[in-house]
């Protein structure tokens, strides 16, 4: 049976320093396509969309891939600490 990403993250050898939150949600995002792509892109599956607001949020630990930063340069609705 395929493992879930949550199980796999248990084997992530990156340590995430909690004093540097990996992602800070800054604002909401109106670009629905972008939100969908970021949700799809994140190897750690850290983004999800709330039903009420167009918003994404995170849960550590991430894999530190920096993919999200590149998908939404400049106009990022969230800020990522790398």
């Amino acid at each position: 049976m395929a493992m879930t990403i949550e199980d796999k993250l248990g084997h992530n050898r990156f340590n995430v320093d909690s004093s540097y939150a990996h992602i800070h949600v800054k604002d909401t995002c109106d670009d629905q396509k972008l939100v969908e792509r970021v949700i799809m892109a994140c190897p750690a599956k850290l983004y999800s969309q709330r039903e009420d607001v167009k918003d994404v949020w995170n849960a550590a630990p991430a894999a530190s891939s920096h993919t999200d930063v590149l998908l939404s340069p400049g106009t990022t609705p969230w800020a990522v600490w790398v």
């Binding site: 395929a2 992530n12 792509r37 799809m40 892109a41 190897p43 530190s64 993919t67 590149l70």
Partner: protein
């Protein structure tokens, strides 16, 4: 309190940072390496197969002494359709010669060894601290780094902070990365025993296989898969160009599962235990992505300088980053002798890079990124090959169509002119 001043501060303790630190410390320079990971190798990801030639120059006997996993003696590349694989395999005795050897490696093992080498030579390491800024004087010359509240000073700063070098961007040496120039890599390490790896992949102790995949694994998106045999485990993963995310509808994290469950792969992996899951960016832009490589008091090397070649049939980053670290170290040593760390003095680094295999090879394959950025390679050619191979080898007692007709039918589906055009482009890129 007067701050201690180093000859060189290196940001990033990956392969580039460690190799440069080792060589600079050997030349009796005061070197500090600042690495954001708590332990060496903790934040590092590679495929990975490392071509050994550059490391052999720096650490003679590298292949015997370093904690490499296996010497790669077999190359395999597969074009995957949904249930089939058209595979090319290559064995070569020459791959066993030290000067031509390549090795599967795990960064969790290699980086601590490199760190130890550099420390033994006299370099100082601080782990668990992220550099936020390169400090400059009023003329813009780099004079040190800022990490949190702490300022550290040096005559020269070497940026070895990897593919997404925010520090090189801050200094205006490098542009923000574009989604077309970079891929995301997702990788798993799956453990077996050494004997089991030998048995499953038909290799001897200490020898192994490099296996690349295109086609079904990314569901047609620009990218591919990889599998390397390590000593007692397998490194398996995918890369997908960031711009392509969404194309084909499969998330990069799910592509790894797709590859692991493909009929040509799954039997090799049954019963293995996942011991590592990681993800990282990979530079894909080739020669045209190389940034400004130096400034006043600063040099950029390794992935931070985009010195990676993704050629489709192999990926080379680690040998380029080791060599660039060596050339950066030579430049800094020469600058110390002259007492001149100015931009003009450090321009020697660019000359050295231009004369090295790095820039020569990258120029050679300059058109490769544009060639690879073609959905037909990932979407249509694997299916075309499948149809041709079925025409050759599947026999069920029914009358067989003339093979030429089958093959032409498969080619026509793609388009003869498109195929010829792509073959011409491939010739040009290679």
């Amino acid at each position: 309190m007067a701050e201690e001043k180093f000859d060189v501060i290196i940001v990033g303790g990956g392969i580039t940072g460690c190799v440069a630190a080792y060589l600079l410390a050997q030349a009796e320079m005061e070197v500090l390496v600042v690495e954001r990971a708590e332990e060496a190798g903790q934040k590092a990801v590679t495929g990975g197969r490392m071509y050994g030639h550059a490391m052999e120059k720096i650490f003679p006997g590298f292949g015997e002494e370093a904690p490499v996993e296996r010497k790669i003696v077999r190359e395999r590349i597969s074009f995957l359709a949904e249930e089939t694989a058209t595979t090319l395999e290559y064995d070569d005795e020459e791959m066993r010669k030290p000067e031509k050897a390549s090795y599967s490696i795990l960064r969790g093992n290699l980086d601590p060894w490199l760190t130890e080498k550099a420390e033994e030579a006299g370099a100082m390491f601080i782990h668990g601290i992220r550099v936020d800024k390169v400090l400059t004087d009023d003329k813009g010359k780099a004079i040190g780094v800022l990490a949190g509240e702490e300022e550290m000073y040096a005559d020269c700063v070497l940026l070895a902070d990897g593919v997404n070098s925010l520090l090189a961007q801050q200094l205006g040496l490098k542009k923000e990365l574009e989604p077309k120039q970079v891929a995301v890599g997702v990788k798993e390490v799956i453990q077996f025993s050494e004997e089991e790896i030998n048995k499953r992949f038909g290799v001897k102790d200490g020898e192994g296989l490099a296996w690349l995949f295109a086609g079904d694994v990314t569901n047609g998106a620009v990218g591919g898969g990889f599998l390397y045999t390590d000593k007692d485990c397998v490194s398996i993963g995918i890369v997908e160009t960031i711009e392509e995310i969404g194309y084909g509808g499969v998330a990069p994290r799910d592509m790894v599962e797709r590859l692991k469950n493909h009929p040509s792969v799954r039997d090799y992996l049954t019963g293995g235990e996942l011991v590592e899951y990681s993800a990282h960016l990979v530079t894909e832009g080739g020669y045209d992505m190389i940034p400004q490589l130096y400034g006043d008091g600063v040099i950029v090397a390794g992935d931070a300088a985009a010195l990676v070649m993704n050629l489709g049939f192999t990926i080379r980053g680690m040998d380029l980053c080791a060599e660039s670290a060596r050339l950066a170290a030579e430049t800094i040593i020469a600058a110390k002798e002259k007492g001149d760390y100015s931009k003009a003095s450090l321009s020697l680094y660019e000359k050295k890079l231009n004369d090295s295999f790095i820039v020569k090879d990258m120029k050679h394959y300059r058109k490769m990124p544009a060639f690879i950025d073609n959905h037909r390679i990932f979407e249509q050619y694997p299916g075309m090959m499948e149809e041709i191979m079925k025409g050759l080898w599947l026999v069920d007692g029914e009358e067989k169509e003339k093979f030429f007709k089958t093959a032409m039918g498969a080619v026509k589906k793609v388009g003869i002119f498109k195929l010829f055009g792509d073959v011409r482009k491939a010739m040009g890129a290679l």
